[in-house]
Symmetry: D2
Subunit: 344 residues, 4 copies
Amino acid sequence: MRAIVKTHRAPGLELQEVPEPTCGPTDILIRVRHAGVCGTDLHIADWDEWAQGRVKPPVVVGHEFAGEVVDMGKEAAGQFQKGQTVTAEGHIVCGHCRQCRTGNGHICRFTQIIGVDRNGAFADYIAMPASNVMPLDGIPTTTGAIMDPLGNAFHTVLSPDIAGSTVLVLGCGPIGCFAVGIARAAGAARVIASDVNPVRLELARRMGAQVPLNAAQEDVVARVLSETRGEGADLVCEMSGHPSALKQAFGAVRLGGRVHLLGLPKGEVGLNLSNDLIFKGVTVYGVIGRKMFETWNQMRSFLSSGLLDPTPVVTHRFPLANIDGALEAIRSGAAGKVILEIGG
Amino acid sequence: MRAIVKTHRAPGLELQEVPEPTCGPTDILIRVRHAGVCGTDLHIADWDEWAQGRVKPPVVVGHEFAGEVVDMGKEAAGQFQKGQTVTAEGHIVCGHCRQCRTGNGHICRFTQIIGVDRNGAFADYIAMPASNVMPLDGIPTTTGAIMDPLGNAFHTVLSPDIAGSTVLVLGCGPIGCFAVGIARAAGAARVIASDVNPVRLELARRMGAQVPLNAAQEDVVARVLSETRGEGADLVCEMSGHPSALKQAFGAVRLGGRVHLLGLPKGEVGLNLSNDLIFKGVTVYGVIGRKMFETWNQMRSFLSSGLLDPTPVVTHRFPLANIDGALEAIRSGAAGKVILEIGG
Amino acid sequence: MRAIVKTHRAPGLELQEVPEPTCGPTDILIRVRHAGVCGTDLHIADWDEWAQGRVKPPVVVGHEFAGEVVDMGKEAAGQFQKGQTVTAEGHIVCGHCRQCRTGNGHICRFTQIIGVDRNGAFADYIAMPASNVMPLDGIPTTTGAIMDPLGNAFHTVLSPDIAGSTVLVLGCGPIGCFAVGIARAAGAARVIASDVNPVRLELARRMGAQVPLNAAQEDVVARVLSETRGEGADLVCEMSGHPSALKQAFGAVRLGGRVHLLGLPKGEVGLNLSNDLIFKGVTVYGVIGRKMFETWNQMRSFLSSGLLDPTPVVTHRFPLANIDGALEAIRSGAAGKVILEIGG
Amino acid sequence: MRAIVKTHRAPGLELQEVPEPTCGPTDILIRVRHAGVCGTDLHIADWDEWAQGRVKPPVVVGHEFAGEVVDMGKEAAGQFQKGQTVTAEGHIVCGHCRQCRTGNGHICRFTQIIGVDRNGAFADYIAMPASNVMPLDGIPTTTGAIMDPLGNAFHTVLSPDIAGSTVLVLGCGPIGCFAVGIARAAGAARVIASDVNPVRLELARRMGAQVPLNAAQEDVVARVLSETRGEGADLVCEMSGHPSALKQAFGAVRLGGRVHLLGLPKGEVGLNLSNDLIFKGVTVYGVIGRKMFETWNQMRSFLSSGLLDPTPVVTHRFPLANIDGALEAIRSGAAGKVILEIGG
């Protein structure tokens, strides 16, 4: 079958013919129709420091996908039907540790990520443990292919008091734009979104941000305060990892509010914990992955019911063979979400 | 000033001239513009068993209202301005008990209700403790006048997992119709509403119910199950107090779901706790009043931002002098919310 | 191997020689050392109405046990070692439904219970799905054998505000007595326990109940109110299923308190929902099984650290062959927890 | 009356004769029996940078106290009796803002602190708003005098999952030592406490710490991991504000655990948010003051029932006139909690 492979410990990705994966007794074999391209894929292609420390070539890349069931292992039979469209959680967890056994598989310390630690989804076929596979129930595979990053956004946004609240989204990449749409669908009264890239801000506006702020031109904290009678935002979703955005997060959150951190800062960030966090009685939560599988249920409910339409964020589509074009679109900064058309 | 008074221990209400209330040191004096008429007022007018046991005439009736500040006691100065439009929580609580001191004033055992236990709002003026008064911040007094029952609906609906959920509202009186609108605004994926009265069901549909069910013609539990792939509703809001609706509530709620009880059943109701509650792992919550003052903040946020428009539920308006017309409209079963036009 | 078998659709249990269970690819084969005898086993022995509707003989009975690992299926290898002592969750759930995938396997609608719906633990060997098996990590198998009912008690007692609270336990059978000990270990300020059986009340007292009440001689609600300055209990754990205890539960719970229902009432129970639940702002929760596997983690932590010693509740031990003696001890009302000594 | 006064904008405190405070209409006048001396009082005495920016002499210092009611304002009559022993929340909040109206008065932005922003408790008498006053209900005034810092410890420790958990307390000053005792009383399975001062560690051990760690001699993170099978602590209470302890906090917390920050770091602290917080799915909460008044209720329940005995932490007592001796004891690092004996 065709696959995009990280072949060597050096920059670049290659389209190759590789053997089809075998379907183990507890696995589901899936023919991939669509796959999402992520910043992580770019890191692997560019062979940056993180990739050098983590990835062991050769490995098929890609961790966001949807497709149709073509085979089932003996122990997995009965849960799915051939031809059924599905997507999958790309974090393969141990299932036995304390975290996995208490609904916190997203922080299992034995996690293997497809397309990073084992063969992934930029290929005609992928075999996945049945417990990771999710029926799409009518959601199109173009949307199914981006439910991994969409799930990150759901995990970041859906705090219990979201209805009627003011939400600030810092960073309007695809996950930030999804977060804007989710906050609106979940009844946020006001969504403020900030980025330095006008293309991304326009996507955020299309996803429902009532107050798009260009952080290169405006004082984000001052604007948030002026939009909230001086109180600040109830929930800040930090999606960029930039040190300046982190300062804005703590400056703009209200007394007693929440800051959810999804963007990954590099190295250390200096924070004034006394003024920004302790005196304000703030709660901070580190967001990693998707809750298994509460987040997936929420997502399917929002998507199936039409509460949320994530498609405006999908700005580019490429055939599998043009992975370089897909990566270039991401590099350009002009893309929202980029997907690969593989099968179907 | 004019006031609608329960004058004697017998059916009926009278429009009378009474002295203006005095404004104590911790009070706010309010000129009433609009007031909501409630089933409770009907009980008092009709002098039913409950009223006979609770109400001590003479008393000015009415507990839902909005108006403008005309005077402030010495200890309350500085919090409000004359001319400011306000509404008020009608439950006057002790402020000192354990419940009051932990944000649970709605279950203070020393509660006095205006229009029931002390003089109320169907009058040109009312004096209220400053701590019960809420600025309207631009919300019109016609809406301010119904924030008491609207708050009941917010208290019933806003559970943490509302976004993306399926909500069943049993009973489409004004509070049930408000509940429908709130559930939609808070991101419920699907709202099913049930009543035996087609006029009320039509109001529920206008407030956003996607599945209005006539309980006189349809099997409510069966329909809820068929609308939810056999799972049942995540949240059931029981707003009627009818024994049959209570059975439906427990039959239609999903495993692990929630039943919020607002409607007041008369006497005992027989429940199969083993099958309906314990084996299903259900949580039941008794809803009384509004959380002081978390519910009021939520309400102002929904109303100010335009997330919720409760006005379709307001079907009738009467001048103060025509309280009998207002009560008759409620008795007819053809009314949503009925309000009195008093001042302004 | 030896096993206690329900052989026919009639009263009685028999000790028989039956084939050893086979160990499937995802199973663990366990040699049973100790097993707990439960009221459910009594229902099956006596062939009451519930048993007639549920149990399909022949079936090996018993669902509470601990023992040592003797074999592992191919897919389960690596998680356990031979000789390791373990216990197991006796509810075998589907693993795929919404409940199972969100940490709520205790309400999976496809649950099979060992010793009821499939062969159980009153036998020399039992095969269990690896995902149900729990390492004992040094907890003795005599305690491991009763972690199923102990888990029911943990699930009932451990609400978030337990520390510093007043807890009322209605019904001092083994699970009620465990509940008393757990409440004390979790920092309840005062534990009140009620039963009509003086032997059971004495066990409750030994487990830490500061106020044991004989419900045949005292007015439970009045005593709870007098012990709590008229406020009532923060948490009521109803472990009996008796209609009179249910009335006491709602009468004795404080405004805004919680009632957790574990005891299974037969048929319908009449409740005054308005006075007892709605006006009081009470929350009711139906407790079934153990949370998979949050409850098990809590239990192991309490037991391993010595916070809780459940052994005073274990009043009787019998060899496997004397199952009739064990059942008779339960029938007598003089027993706490009864265990069978099988292997080891 | 006698009072310890900050008289000028310079180091030092003076014992002076000043007029008794007047008791306003909503106030309670209290004769002070005992008062606690806090690090804040030391900052004011030493006139450090923080004090210079905040305190406006002349002001009576002291914010932790207990005493007896000697007079009540007209609007406050009926809530208390003369001679009743009481303590008081020293943060006087506005009562009208969003925070105050939703049970979050501890983060009211209009807070005035007694002994800092207005006259305090190191005096024969103090007048307090009735809404801040708490009956002691039999708790001795020596304990009542330290309920302010004890409340900080309760606010830090009492997270919902405390029972059965492993708690790490970083910094064993008085509040840290209180935290140790509270964690044990609330059913923590294991409490690890760290400090560089052996005297303080010994106090922590006496309050119940099973694992006292001298951070000058041991690798705190390594020890916590070895004590928890490599998992880390469920809850870390950071009571010191030291940058090294903050690093330890994030290193020692388990995946999905909580870090509660009470100690106030000076200036910026560098944190590796990606590794320490985001990838670990950690929640951080900034602790300020005491929840009004949930924390006070919890405290009274723990103290009245005997669950917690904080007296081992009280190591020194001085007469009011010897405030210098009290401050010197704190400076020495050899003190736990220091109290002043004023009246009674």
